[in-house]
Symmetry: C2
Subunit: 174 residues, 2 copies
């Protein structure tokens, strides 16, 4: 029997969402599974993981999408276009089925900011290859995503160092 791939969401305002996705990538790579990481927002992947990824060059595809759109652009049309291209790439990757795990980092924002419709995204997710695992991260996951997912964890910030005036640290920064 073909194994059932899970769709997992890490959402909420706390730290650790992208980091947990990275941990899953690390785990899956250890099993020799091909993994694809797609970053929808510029800057959420850091130097550390990009260097670590080299260790798994044959198995891990790393894609920074969106031409660095940050949702702060003054040109909304450009942002929408960039989000559209990023999503089209992700949809192709999911349909192609070459990876055992696909991480859609910060995907939730595409729906939240109405760059791509929830319905269009769900239509692709519903057709994912049976054995493929999906991980979606980002604040404010939409109800449709939550309903579709097998596992949803909300990360809640109880205490954060920046509030204590401590600057982000190289190698550990979230």
């Amino acid at each position: 029997m073909e194994p059932h791939g899970l769709t997992m969401i890490f959402t909420g305002n706390g730290k650790g969402k992208t980091t947990a996705a990275l941990g899953l990538a690390f785990r899956a790579l250890g099993h020799g599974f091909p993994v694809c990481l797609i970053q929808f927002i510029k800057g959420s992947w850091k130097y550390g993981e990009l260097e670590s990824a080299k260790c798994f060059a044959d198995l891990l595809d790393f894609h920074v999408m969106g031409r660095g759109f940050t949702w702060n652009s003054e040109n909304l049309q450009e942002d929408i276009q960039a989000a559209r291209e990023a999503w089209d790439f992700a949809a192709q990757t999911i349909r192609a089925g070459r990876h055992r795990l696909v991480i859609l980092d910060e995907l939730t924002y595409l729906i939240k900011y109405q760059m791509v419709s929830e319905e269009e995204i769900l239509a692709v997710l519903r057709q994912k290859p049976e054995a493929m695992h999906l991980v979606i991260t980002g604040r404010g996951a939409s109800q449709g995503l939550i309903d579709f997912a097998d596992l949803v964890t909300e990360m809640t910030e109880i205490k954060h160092p920046y509030k204590k005036g401590i600057k982000a640290q190289k190698g550990i920064e979230f």
Copy 2:
């Protein structure tokens, strides 16, 4: 100026605590930082990460402590003894200062089940080398740990696949 090492806690009943710690290890290793992972409960580290760890053999120390005590033992004295030995090893590792990141996976249970006192653990944490980052995972982090930490994230389970009757999947299992 010596960088300030952070103490981070991933707690709560949701999935992703150990996984987020793994992600931080992956990130720190990419910076070439020596990392030590200490597992206090048998079985929380899986085959996947053990294989991935080989990629970073020079930088990553992996320690499965406690002779596999699971808190289900019928011999409480043996469990307490195993917890004590595991903590002594962790304390030595912290004091030695050879690592830039030390992950104390499931440490919270030692306090919760009164295997080692919170005061004794805090005394060691307070003396950690300034540049060392600590990550503590586990449910029910004690108030003293939370007060000491710089960053605390609570993982809350919103939806879990086992409740839908889906079995754990190789390479992705939490």
